[in-house]
C-alpha cells in the first residue's frame, strides 16, 4: 500500500471519528434515562460488593461455627442470633457472610460464562462476516444446529458429559451464548460490508485485514456489547438452573448464589430464607444487567436518535 493511500485511509478514519459518533451519542442518550441509571447503580453496587465482600464479611463463610452447629438439627436451622445476622445455613456456616461473598462467585461465573461465549461467538461470527461465501454458510449452519437445541438442554448435554465443577457450569452456560453472538456479529458485519465507508476503503486499496479490523469490527461491536450485558443476566440464572437440576458445582461449600439456591430447595419448609435471599439477590442483579442492556439497546437503535 502506498504512503498516499495510507494517509488517505487515516484521514478517512479521523473523519469517521470526528463529530458525534453513533456510539458516543448512544452512550450519552443511554445515561439520560432513569432506567439505565438504575441498572447502572445496581450493577455498580454488585461489582463493588463482589470486590470488597471478602473483607467486609463479618464471619468466615467457609467454616462451620460451633454456636450454630449446636442448634442445628434436620428440622431446625437456627435463625438470626447475636453475631450471626441471618443465622445459620444447613451446614452450620454463617449465612449472611456466605450471601455477601456469594456476590463474588456469582459475578465470576456470570462474567466468565459470558466472556467465553462472546469470544467463541465472535471468532465464528467474525470469520463468517469477514470471509462470506462457503465459510459463512458452514459456520452459520453450525450455529443453526446449536440454536436448534433448546438453550437449557444444550447446557445440560454439555454439563452431563463433564465432571461437576464450577468450570463445567461456566462452559456449559457459555455455549448457550455462542450461536447468539456469532449470528449477531456476522449480521452486523455483513451490513457493514456494503456500507459506504467500507466501499470507500476498498476502493482506496486498503488491505482486507485492515478493513475488517479497523472498519467493520469496531462498527459492528455495539450489538454484541448490548447482548453481552443481557447475557450476563441470563448466564447467572442459567447457572442457577443447572445447580437446581443437580448439574452444578459439586463443591457444595462454595458460596455462589445459584448453588446456594439450588442446594436450599429441599429446605423450603425448614428455613425458606435459605432459598429466598440468594434468589432475590439473583433477581436484583439479573434485573440490573437487563435494565442496563435494554436501555443500551434502545439508544443504539438509530430510529431513536434525535
Amino acid at each position: 500500500m502506498s504512503i498516499l493511500s495510507t494517509r488517505k485511509a487515516e484521514k478517512i478514519d479521523s473523519l469517521a471519528e470526528g463529530g458525534t459518533s453513533l456510539a458516543m451519542d448512544a452512550l450519552r442518550r443511554t445515561f439520560r434515562s432513569p432506567v439505565a441509571i438504575l441498572g447502572l447503580v445496581i450493577v455498580g453496587l454488585f461489582v463493588i460488593l463482589a470486590i470488597i465482600s471478602p473483607f467486609i464479611a463479618p464471619k468466615d463463610p467457609y467454616r462451620p461455627y460451633p454456636e450454630l452447629k449446636a442448634e442445628l438439627t434436620p428440622s431446625n436451622i437456627p435463625g438470626p442470633m447475636p453475631g450471626f445476622l441471618l443465622g445459620s445455613d444447613q451446614n452450620g456456616y454463617d449465612f449472611f457472610s456466605r450471601l455477601l461473598v456469594g456476590a463474588q462467585q456469582t459475578l465470576f461465573v456470570g462474567v466468565f460464562a459470558t466472556l467465553i461465549g462472546v469470544a467463541i461467538g465472535m471468532i465464528i461470527g467474525g470469520l463468517a462476516g469477514a470471509f462470506g461465501g462457503w465459510v459463512d454458510s458452514v459456520l452459520m449452519r453450525l450455529t443453526d444446529i446449536m440454536l436448534s437445541v433448546p438453550s437449557l438442554l444444550l447446557a445440560i448435554s454439555i454439563a452431563a458429559l463433564l465432571p461437576g465443577s464450577q468450570w463445567t457450569v461456566i462452559i456449559a452456560v457459555a455455549m448457550i451464548g455462542v450461536p447468539v453472538f456469532a449470528r449477531l456479529l456476522r449480521g452486523a458485519m455483513i451490513a457493514q460490508r456494503s456500507s459506504d465507508h467500507v466501499l470507500a476503503a476498498t476502493a482506496l486499496g486498503v488491505k482486507r485485514k485492515t478493513i475488517v479490523f479497523r472498519h467493520m469490527l469496531p462498527n459492528s461491536i455495539g450489538p454484541v456489547i448490548v447482548q453481552a450485558t443481557l447475557t450476563l443476566a441470563t448466564a447467572i440464572i442459567d447457572a442457577a438452573a443447572l445447580s437446581f437440576l443437580g448439574l452444578g458445582d459439586s463443591d457444595w461449600r462454595r458460596a455462589e448464589w445459584g448453588l446456594m439456591l439450588g442446594n436450599a430447595q429441599e429446605l423450603l419448609s425448614v428455613k425458606p430464607s435459605l432459598a429466598f435471599f440468594p434468589a432475590i439477590a439473583i433477581i436484583v442483579v439479573a434485573l440490573g444487567f437487563t435494565l442496563l442492556g435494554e436501555s443500551m439497546r434502545e439508544s443504539l437503535d438509530p430510529k431513536n436518535r434525535r
Binding site: 449452519r141 444446529i145 437445541v149 437449557l152 437446581f244 439456591l261 439473583i282 433477581i283 435494565l291 435494554e294
Partner: protein, 334 residues
C-alpha cells in the same frame, strides 16, 4: 406456497442430519466411552469388553453411526438404564403431561400477553406503559424454578388453596385416554377428575408462562408501536375510518405478525422451562424423565430426550415459518 413449504422442509433435513451426528458423537465423548457409561458402577474391563462386542462398538465408526441412524429412524432409542424399558415407550407415556403443561402455559401467556402489550403501546410513556415494561423485565429476571417455589410456598404452604404437586390427586380414579389429564376427564365424563387436574395445572402453568408472557408483551408492544407509525395507518386514519376499525384491521392485525413468530421461538424456552417447572411440581412429564436421567446418568434416555426435544423444536419452527408464509405472502418470495 407448496414450493415454499417443500423448500423449508428440505432445509430442515441437513440440520436434523448433522444434529443426529452430534448426538451420536456426544455419547462417544463420554469419559471411558459409552460402555463404561452404560455400565456405571458395574463397569469392569471384562464387562466393558463384552458390552462393546454386544453393542457393536468395535465396528468402524461410520458403520456404527448408520446403525444408530437406522435405529432412531425406526423410533428405537435403546432402553433406559433406570427402568429397563424402551426409551421411546417412556417418552410417549410422559409426553402428554408435558404437552398439557406447555400448551396451558402458552395459552396463559398469549391470553394475557397480547392485550397487555397492546394496552402498553396505546399508553406509551404513561404510567401504565412503564409499569408493564418493568413487570416484563422483572418477569425475565426471576428464575422459573424460583417462581415455582414461590407460588408453591404462597398458595399451598401458606394459604392451602391449591395442590402442591403432581397432576392429579391420588384418590381420584381416572381413566387414561389421551394422557392429557384435563381432557381425559371430559372424554370419559369424569368431571371431578378434570376439575382436580385443572387445580393441579394452575401453579405450574403460571410459573412456566412467566417468560413467554414477558416476551410476548414486549414484542406486541414494540410491534404495535412500529405499525402505528406506518403510512397505511395514517392513510386509513385520514380517509376517515373510525379509530376502532383502524386499530382492529390495520394496527392489530399487522402487529400480530412478529408476535406469531415469537410464539414459535418461545417453544425452545418453554421446553427448557418445562424441565425446571416439572421438577418443582413433580409433574411426571418429559422434564421429570430428563431430571431422573441426569441424576442417575441414564445416557440412553438422555440421548433420546435431547434428540426428541431438538426435533420437536425444529419442527415447531418449521410450522411457524410455514404459517408465517400463509399470513404474510411477502415471506414466500425470499
Amino acid at each position: 406456497m407448496l414450493r415454499f413449504t417443500v423448500r423449508r422442509l428440505l432445509q430442515a433435513v441437513p440440520t436434523l442430519f448433522v444434529l443426529s451426528i452430534l448426538v451420536f458423537a456426544w455419547l462417544r465423548l463420554l469419559p471411558g466411552g459409552p460402555a463404561t457409561a452404560l455400565l456405571g458402577d458395574k463397569a469392569t474391563p471384562e464387562r466393558v469388553a463384552a458390552m462393546n462386542a454386544v453393542m457393536g462398538l468395535d465396528d468402524p465408526i461410520v458403520v456404527q453411526y448408520f446403525r444408530f441412524l437406522g435405529r432412531i429412524l425406526t423410533g428405537d432409542f435403546g432402553n433406559s438404564l433406570i427402568t429397563g424399558d424402551p426409551v421411546m415407550e417412556e417418552v410417549s407415556w410422559a409426553f402428554p403431561a408435558t404437552l398439557e403443561l406447555s400448551v396451558a402455559a402458552m395459552f396463559l401467556a398469549v391470553l394475557f400477553g397480547i392485550p397487555m402489550g397492546y394496552i402498553a403501546a396505546r399508553f406509551r410513556g404513561r404510567f401504565l406503559d412503564n409499569a408493564t415494561v418493568v413487570t416484563t423485565l422483572v418477569g425475565v429476571a426471576v428464575p422459573v424454578f424460583f417462581l415455582g417455589f414461590l407460588l408453591k410456598y404462597v398458595f399451598t404452604q401458606e394459604m392451602s388453596l391449591l395442590p402442591p404437586s403432581g397432576r392429579q390427586d391420588v384418590l381420584i380414579d381416572s381413566t387414561r385416554v389421551t394422557g392429557i389429564a384435563t381432557l381425559d376427564g371430559l372424554l370419559t365424563g369424569e368431571f371431578d377428575a378434570t376439575w382436580d387436574a385443572m387445580l393441579h395445572l394452575i401453579l405450574p402453568a403460571v410459573a412456566l408462562a412467566s417468560i413467554p408472557f414477558a416476551v410476548i408483551v414486549r414484542i406486541t408492544r414494540a410491534s404495535v408501536l412500529d405499525v402505528q407509525g406506518e403510512d397505511f395507518v395514517r392513510t386509513a386514519d385520514s380517509k376517515g375510518l373510525t379509530t376502532q376499525v383502524v386499530r382492529k384491521r390495520h394496527v392489530l392485525r399487522n402487529a400480530l405478525l412478529p408476535v406469531s413468530t415469537t410464539i414459535g421461538l418461545q417453544t425452545g424456552l418453554l421446553m427448557s422451562g418445562a424441565v425446571l417447572t416439572e421438577k418443582v411440581f413433580a409433574w411426571g412429564g418429559l422434564g421429570t424423565l430428563l431430571e431422573q436421567a441426569i441424576q442417575q446418568r441414564d445416557y440412553p434416555r438422555l440421548q433420546g430426550l435431547i434428540l426428541l426435544f431438538a426435533v420437536v423444536f425444529v419442527l415447531v419452527n418449521l410450522l411457524v415459518d410455514i404459517s408465517y408464509a400463509i399470513i404474510d405472502p411477502r415471506v414466500r418470495v425470499r
